[in-house]
Amino acid sequence: MTFTAPVLNYAQLAPMLIVLGGALIGVLIEAFGPRASRHASQLFITVASLVAAFAALVRVRNQSSVDAAMGSVGFDGAGVLLQGTILIIALLSVFLIADQENFTALAAAVPGSSEERESLQLDLRVTEVYPLTLFAVAGMLLFPVSTDLITLFVALEMLSLPLYLMAGLSRRRRLMSQESALKYFLLGAFSSAFLLFGVAYLYGYSNSVTFAGIQASITGGSGNDVFLLLGIAFISVGLLFKVGAVPFHAWSPDVYQGAPTAITGFMAAATKVAAFGAILRIFYVAFANAEWQWKPALVLIAIVTMVFGSVVAITQRDVKRMLAYSSIAHAGFLLAGVIALSKSGLDASIFYLFAYGIATVGAFGVVTLVRDSAGEVTDLNRWSGLGKRSPLVASVFAFFLLAFAGIPLTSGFIGKFSIFSAAYETGSTAILIAGVLSSAIAAFFYIRVIVLMFFKDPVEDGTSVVIPSALTTTTIAVTSLITLILGIFPAPLINFIESSAFFIR
């Protein structure tokens, strides 16, 4: 037999490769770099590789090909947009991560051990968070462009494994942080097992691991529908777990709360983009013609997710948990875009992902600023009167909340409008109604927080807003600015998405 060397389109793979390269360099620095300059150089490498990756992406933005890498990576407009989104979000999150204050000096050390204490005193910090971030980013970049099941699975693990670790890196309340890591890991592994099982059945059904092949055999109708059914079901479990759709959501509140806030922001924003990117691609490309099989189930899940997320969020006392549940609700809204299964649905979803991701990073960025002597304060009751303490920060946070609630003149409103109209256009009236109702419920708790911040008097318990570092400031400023601009002049972005968003088959 002959062996044909693989043909790789390096230009199109460049973004991922650059990020991976950066990650590897990071690892080396962590191993051999002088401790004093470690943090600086790590930060530099990370930012540099992200920027470079973005540049590389921009260079090839108009290309598209089925086999960027032997048919297992597709490269197209949608991919570019999603990767771009992920890179921007990643960059902004890195600015938050750069605030070392939040991270344990030595993850390996036992909480409260002498080891930990001295590493803090001597400021012997380990900075593995940066390479981990880059690895995760690389996985996220790969996830939405993978066009075969192997790559899908590998990318999933590639983005998940670093996140499991990062969740455990919090400096304060380390027990919680570690717990969240454990939960995230076990459940993540559990769900990826489902995904893999699904992969197996899809392969069994279609005798192919590429989306194209699966689509072909679905249209062909050959093959055992039971396998298809199982395949779709199990794969959905794996993917829906990542986006935190009910009933696969249970991990997200705990993890969001336990993980270091900067990581939470990164996770909440970037993972959603990547995972939804993958979902969109696989459902739009591979499963499109089996619509009649999965759509009803997905509609149900979407509705349950919206309502559940909104309702439970009402009673939350912790700002990070509250945001977690709101992100569950938003997962429900985003599923509406998947269900639409139309061009407008795709455009809407991508816009929504961008808008929501940006706002999320910003919101969590603000959360990192509210602290007392023992670190961040996430108990909502202690947030009361924040508007008096530091009007600006409170206003910005309120603005993000309004964006989440989808009030006009924020990006959230445009996103909500476009995604629901797309869903309704393809006849999902139920989605529209459920969406409207749950938005009403959601408004309830966003407003509750605003009331807390502005209309309640401050409690004197040492809660204060720290002066943000330059980088954090940048993130918050940029994100809020984007959120506002997208609310007022969304046309450019929408046009751009409209013109370039498509899935290559």
Binding site: L402, P408, S421, Y424, A440, A443, F454, F455
Partner: protein, 505 residues
């Protein structure tokens, strides 16, 4: 530059000006705000003179692409209806600023914030009436909630936070229902000649809708407006809000914002869904009549003077709604004129009540007594305002109220007859507070309240002047209103009933 656009930009610029003045220079800030509102008022009056009342199509039209891919435009223009309401808004704004000169003190935040909010609100008030693009209208409709929310919650009294939240949630809920309907319209328009939000093109759509669809979409809009206007039983937010807000805010809330509801009924419910409007007319009339009597009874039973005024407004909005759905020229013109007059009589009532409350330090009617002898000017202002509120002939409200009754009687005699009992109740709910607060012996605590000072006199004088002048000579307004309302009915395919007796004779 387009008259409306400039009118909308002026307050924004004003708010910027206010923003740059240092917070401690309160007087400067107030002067800037007053100056701006006066400028806007002047430009409003100029627009009034430029307006060609003979021409029933929109005037001062400006259309610019906003979000082309959704067919959303920045489209403004006014017909008689909108012009009258805009004029009312811009005339009331300076009065409110001048009358509530010291309202901004004692709030949670500086006077600066107060006037920024007021000015931003003014922009949106103009915009919401001027928008000829449904999406644009919705944006203003929702966005204007936010400044009001902060005005109530930040500068109000008593249960201000709770009232603000109640107001916001109620309105948001209605707004979301409306959003659902708007999405419905958008989708339908997409299937019939391209996506659009242009009110003119959308008014053709009903031909393609099934009755069910049309009814549902109609309800989405109507409920939103019924909450705004407030129509029984969706009114309970109003008394709380009005009682908590500062008098000036209450004037804008009841005088202007609530008009958006009745305005919307004419502009959107009737023009977009004529058949559905016909279907629901009987039900709506019932609710309107209930509002008239219900509001009146609750006003009679009210202990708090601000709540009393709020309840009278519910009664008056019942009249307006009834006039709108009577579908006669008299009813329509009457309703529109009523909106204008109610704006001024409520303004007078609330401003004077506000002065009484701020002097006495209580808003309980029973705490006042014998003011007629202590503070004659203030007492007289309240009395005249009250007389106009009970529609005394010779004052502006009478003309509109009688037109509504006559116009309703010709088509729906029963509704008109029942509604007419409202005028007796009106006498009660005005004369009871007059007797308790102004007449009778001067009760302890009222002996040496100061009478109106020059500023307050200057503020109230024009309002009362308008009330009296329009009572004797409403023609200037009617000439502008009549063509507009005639046009609406013509589009609806309604003609006034001919007198039953002189028919054919």
């Amino acid at each position: 530059m387009n008259a409306l656009t400039s009118m909308m930009l002026l307050p924004l610029l004003g708010s910027l000006l206010v923003a740059v003045i240092p917070s401690d220079q309160t007087l400067r800030i107030k002067q800037a705000a007053l100056g701006t509102t006066l400028l806007v008022a002047i430009s409003g009056v100029m627009a009034w003179f430029k307006f060609d009342s003979a021409n029933t199509s929109f005037q001062f039209v400006q259309i610019a692409q906003w979000i082309p891919s959704f067919g959303i435009n920045y489209a403004v223009g006014v017909d008689g209806l909108a012009l009258v309401l805009i004029l009312m808004s811009v005339l009331l704004a300076p009065v409110v600023v001048l009358a509530g000169w010291n309202e901004s003190e004692g709030g949670r935040w500086s006077a600066k914030v107060f006037y920024i909010l007021i000015l931003v609100l003014e922009t949106m008030m103009i915009g919401v009436f001027a928008a000829t693009d449904v999406f644009l209208f919705y944006v203003f409709f929702e966005a204007m909630l936010i400044p009001v929310y902060f005005l109530i919650g930040g500068y109000g009294s008593g249960e201000r936070a709770a009232a603000a939240v109640k107001f916001l949630l109620y309105s948001l809920f209605g707004g979301l229902l409306m959003l659902a309907s708007i999405i419905g319209l958008y989708v339908i328009s997409g299937t019939h000649g391209g996506h659009t939000f242009d009110i003119g093109q959308l008014s053709e759509l009903h031909k393609f809708m099934s009755p069910t669809t049309q009814n549902l979409l109609f309800l989405g809009f109507f409920i939103a407006f019924a909450i705004k206007a407030p129509v029984w039983p969706l009114h309970t937010w109003l008394p709380d809000a009005a009682a908590a807000a500062t008098p000036g805010t209450s004037v804008l809330l009841l005088g202007v914002l609530d008009k958006v509801g009745t305005f919307g009924m004419i502009r959107f419910c009737l023009t977009l869904f004529p058949d559905a409007s016909k279907t629901f007319t009987p039900v709506i009339l019932v609710f309107a009549v209930i509002s008239i009597l219900y509001g009146a009874f609750l006003a009679i039973g009210a202990r708090d003077i601000k709540r009393l005024i709020a309840y009278t407004s519910i009664s008056h909005f019942g009249f307006i709604t009834m006039g709108i759905f009577a579908m006669t020229t008299q009813g329509h013109s009457g309703a529109t004129l009523y909106m204008f007059n109610h704006g001024f009589s409520t303004a007078a009532l609330f401003l004077v009540a506000g002065w009484m409350i701020s002097r006495r330090g209580s808003s309980t009617i029973a705490d006042f007594g014998g003011l007629q002898r202590v503070t004659p000017v203030m007492a007289w202002s309240f009395f005249i305002a009250g007389m106009s509120s009970l529609a005394l002939p010779g004052l502006s409200s009478f003309v509109s109220e009688f037109l509504v009754l006559v116009g309703t009687y010709t088509r729906y005699p029963v509704a008109a007859v029942i509604a007419t009992f409202g005028i007796v109740l009106a006498a009660l709910y005005i004369l009871i507070p007059v007797q308790k607060a102004l007449h009778g012996p001067t009760t302890p605590g009222n002996e040496n309240l100061p009478d109106l000072n020059l500023r307050e006199k200057i503020a109230i004088a024009p309002v009362i002047a308008v009330i009296v002048a329009l009572g004797f000579y409403p023609a200037p307004l009617l000439n502008v209103i009549n063509p507009a309302s005639a046009h609406v009915l013509e589009v609806q395919g309604f003609t006034d009933p001919v007198p039953s007796e002189s028919a054919g004779k």
